[in-house]
């Protein structure tokens, strides 16, 4: 009876240690779990793969360091694919830290894939008030954006050649832990029929499924597992797989704890019933 009670009331500090171990262990173990690509991630991949070299992509990096564990690998995977496809892209963000975080990743990958800032991609920087901004943005991109994140006029950058309105955007990529993607659907993807893909954090996946199901977005890279799947499709070998293993182990721990607590509770109830209700 005591053991059953203990299994239902494990001290939270023990749980914290177990979680810490399950998250960190995969970094020291070389485990390669086979990655099964979900239809949502495959659709995201196909949307970028269908682009032609030189096509212009709007890359909305609306995340901050708090969700770097998921949004970082997603950004890396999507930018890798865009650079491999020789697409032009513009980074934009409605979060203050977003442009800098995406810039760092783009600069690092740019060296590997010969993608040069100004020629192949540009960072438009942090913008405020997504709804108001996008309302004007869709009609006149140079008139609303005006400069890059270093306040240099857009006209001087070859990457901006021929880009006037949102209709010139061939794909909209939204990496986000918030509902900014809905504003893009309302003001850009919906009215102007700009194809769009979304990379949300895992906790947002059930919500984003609505838009995937209704075909308002073409594809979705669901959280860290999605980034791992995408890495598998790109056949790159980075640390994302290990990150995904950490997430897997943490999920298994949570499920194990829940199941253990419930089994102990049921067994205790039965024993209690047998012994005439004395717990």
């Amino acid at each position: 009876m005591k053991a059953l009670r203990f299994l239902q009331t494990v001290d939270r500090r023990v749980i914290y240690v177990l979680l810490m171990l399950s998250v960190t262990a995969p970094f020291f173990l070389s485990i390669r779990l086979p990655m099964m690509v979900s239809p949502a991630t495959q659709a995201f991949y196909n949307a970028i793969d269908a682009l032609q070299p030189g096509d212009f992509v709007l890359f909305s990096s609306d995340w901050e360091a708090g969700t770097r564990g998921e949004n970082g690998p997603q950004t890396e995977a999507a930018l890798t694919h865009l650079m491999r496809k020789k697409c032009r892209f513009a980074i934009i963000s409605f979060q203050p830290q977003g442009p800098k975080l995406a810039q760092d990743i783009a600069e690092r990958l740019g060296k590997e894939y010969d993608s040069v800032e100004g020629r192949d991609w540009i960072n438009w920087g942090y913008k405020v008030d997504a709804k108001n901004y996008l309302k004007g943005f869709v009609r006149d991109i140079p008139g609303v954006v005006k400069t890059n994140n270093k306040t240099e006029p857009l006209e001087k950058f070859p990457v901006m050649r021929g880009i006037k309105t949102a209709s010139d955007i061939k794909l909209l990529v939204s990496i986000t832990p918030s509902n900014v993607y809905q504003t893009y659907i309302q003001f850009v993807a919906g009215p102007l029929k700009v194809p769009m893909v979304v990379a949300p954090t895992s906790v947002m996946v059930p919500e984003v499924f609505n838009y995937l199901d209704s075909k308002q977005i073409l594809g979705m890279m669901p959280g860290l597992p999605g980034a791992g799947e995408y890495e598998g499709l790109l056949k790159t070998n980075t640390k994302v797989t290990r990150f995904a293993n950490s997430a897997s182990f943490a999920h298994v721990l949570i499920i194990f704890l829940i199941v253990m607590g419930n089994i102990a509770m049921v067994m205790e109830r039965r024993q209690s019933a047998r012994s005439g209700g004395q717990a």
Binding site: V10, R12, I15, Y16, L19, V23, L33, P34, M35, M36, S38, P39, A65, G66, R68, G69, Q97, K100, L101, K127, V128, D129, N132, Y133, K135, G136, F137, R139, D140, G143, V144, K146, P153, K164, T165, S202, P206, E207, F209, N210, D213, G223, P225, G228, A244, N245, A247, S248, A250, H251, V252, I254, I255, L257, I258, V259, G261, N262, M265, V266
Partner: protein
Amino acid sequence: MFTPKIGGAWYGYIVGSLLAGIVLLVVLMQLPQRARKYVLWTVTFLGGLFYALEFFLPTHEMLIEGNKADGNFLSPFVVPMTNVLPVISAFAVGLGVINLFQMHTKRVLKWNLDSINSVAFFVAMIAMTVGHLMAKSPHPSPFATSLYKVLFEGALQSLDATMFSIIAFYITSAAYRAFRIRSLEATLLLATAIIVMLGQITLGQLLTHALPEYLHVEVVRNWILTKVNAPATRAISVGLGIGSLAVGLRIWLGLERGSYFDN
């Protein structure tokens, strides 16, 4: 409508706009409560009316900012409005900063054990602002670049990530304690949560790999998300949309009660 200003004119416009904004705010604060209410209501109503008319009035092909587009007589003003409104947002941020400074100055002057947090606020805010301005100057020194790197990447990003990561520990502990099969509803919720969690991870997908495809955990998870979850969240979204519309109408028509429209 608005052209970028360069050199001295740029500084002139910045200072002029700032002064005009401060004067406007001072005048607004000096107005009697009732008059201020009507000013705010009028501006809100006109702002809302502009976007409503621009959206609902019939459109025809026209040139907007040199590009062919469908619009009406209000459409050419949408881009200028987009450029003007962030300035108002910037004033709101400025007011927020002033408010924070006032509040924390009072706490520091009263000096007690909690005042150390207010000191931390001043140090962090000033260091971040100075560090950013130095690093973003036309010719930043190596010290400025290093300072910015330490503050932004070393401190802010790490603290942000740490704060967010802590949630994982609470979620694990809370899930263990809360998910108990005490009723039919709780059992359904638990089963659904476990299937969705297993479908989300590779290990879970491996567990059911040998079963027929329709029993794969990721297939069941997708079914739950698209056939059970999606209709429910859509219904909530529709409710939220109608609620937002009602709130929007109340604010637009000045029916909303609160600090801006009432005593």
